[in-house]
């Protein structure tokens, strides 16, 4: 459920001209990343050129939102006060089916059940009226 900016106390992303299409897509509940017009590589986080072939021509492309857990940790220390009630909380690295890797929280799972290769799909979390975060939930593999 969306909270107003003033009630949501966790850090929010800094929107720039470079990453704005990513955040605008999440707001529409779409996961979009840059796809190189020259070599086809899809990359994340947003960058001004393709890390594979250095082309500056790319298209913001909608992804399946599906992937697998490639690494994970569980935070037991709250580095920001707003996270105190969440610890221990997980941070997973998801390798998306299209190739890029993304860091996110994995919801609806016991931390001790997280494992490498776990099949997951994106969940769009509308944390404020203007910001939606990409999180993940387990899916049947």
């Amino acid at each position: 459920m969306a909270e107003s900016e003033s009630r949501y106390e966790k850090p929010l992303p800094a929107i720039t001209s470079l990453n704005q299409p990513y955040w605008e897509a999440l707001k529409r509940h779409e996961l979009r990343m840059q796809r190189c017009d020259q070599c086809g590589r899809i990359w994340y986080p947003p960058a001004p050129l393709c890390p594979g072939c250095w082309s500056r021509k790319f298209t913001w492309t909608q992804l399946s939102g599906r992937g697998r857990v490639s690494a994970w940790v569980v935070f037991h220390q709250a580095y920001f006060r707003a996270y105190e009630k969440d610890i221990p909380y997980n941070v997973v690295e998801v390798e998306l089916d299209e190739g890029p890797r993304i860091l996110a929280n994995l919801l609806d799972v016991k931390n001790s059940d997280i494992h490498a290769g776990m099949a997951v799909e994106v969940f769009f979390d509308d944390v404020t009226d203007s910001i939606t975060l990409a999180k993940f939930k387990p899916r049947a593999s």
Binding site: P45, P51, V73, H76, Q77, P100
Partner: protein, 200 residues
């Protein structure tokens, strides 16, 4: 750290970012280290016995490199790097192989980075560092003593300069109880890829 730390102490210390316990993290401290580098010819006349640098390499670049691990492991990386462990330029320059190294010193801001260095430089195969480091192999008296001064985890975080100082002391035979017997060739090798090989 001034008291011995055992496996049980480590396991009992609290989690910070699981799977890392508090004792997997380096110390936070002030400190300084000093090394004097000169030509072999000039070093000959100095009071202390010289230690020689026989090979070195810097941090490799490239789209699959990632500064906290080996290539291919970062968020931005998307492929598995094809390793040539044991064939890095530092060994060619020094004319040695990992088997010739009497002691290994590595950046250990977190305990796991030491494993990555072992795998990256060919002391063991990928994924085998955890078992490789068991049963005293990396202790003084073991097959490959590592960070005999305690490293960043236990002596001080001086960015690895304290490791260089300890390497020099080891090769001069000045380390007392923690002296690596007959140490002649010692390597600094970092998980991120930079390395120096020193010899007596």
């Amino acid at each position: 750290m001034r008291e011995p730390i055992g496996v049980e102490d480590h396991q009992r210390s609290r989690y910070v970012c699981e799977p890392l316990h508090l004792l997997d993290y380096c110390l936070i401290n002030d400190g300084a280290a000093c090394v004097i580098v000169t030509t072999a010819e000039r070093a000959r006349d100095l009071k202390q016995a010289p230690v020689y640098i026989s090979g070195m390499q810097g941090l490799p670049g490239g789209s699959e490199e990632f500064i906290w691990a080996y290539p291919g492991l970062g968020v931005l990386q998307q492929s598995v790097f094809d390793y040539e462990a044991g064939l890095q330029p530092v060994y060619r320059m020094a004319g040695v192989t990992p088997k010739d190294i009497d002691a290994l010193f590595t950046y250990d801001a977190f305990s796991i980075v030491a494993w990555i260095a072992l795998e990256r430089f060919g002391f063991c195969k990928l994924g085998e560092a955890a078992s490789f480091t068991q049963n005293g192999r990396i202790e003084v008296g073991g097959e490959l003593p590592m960070n005999t001064h305690g490293g960043l985890l236990s002596e001080a975080h001086i960015m690895g300069w304290n490791h260089q100082v300890e390497i020099v002391r080891q090769l001069r035979g000045q380390c007392g109880l923690r002296q690596v017997k007959d140490a002649e060739v010692i390597q600094w090798a970092n998980a991120y890829g930079d390395s120096i090989i020193y010899h007596k």
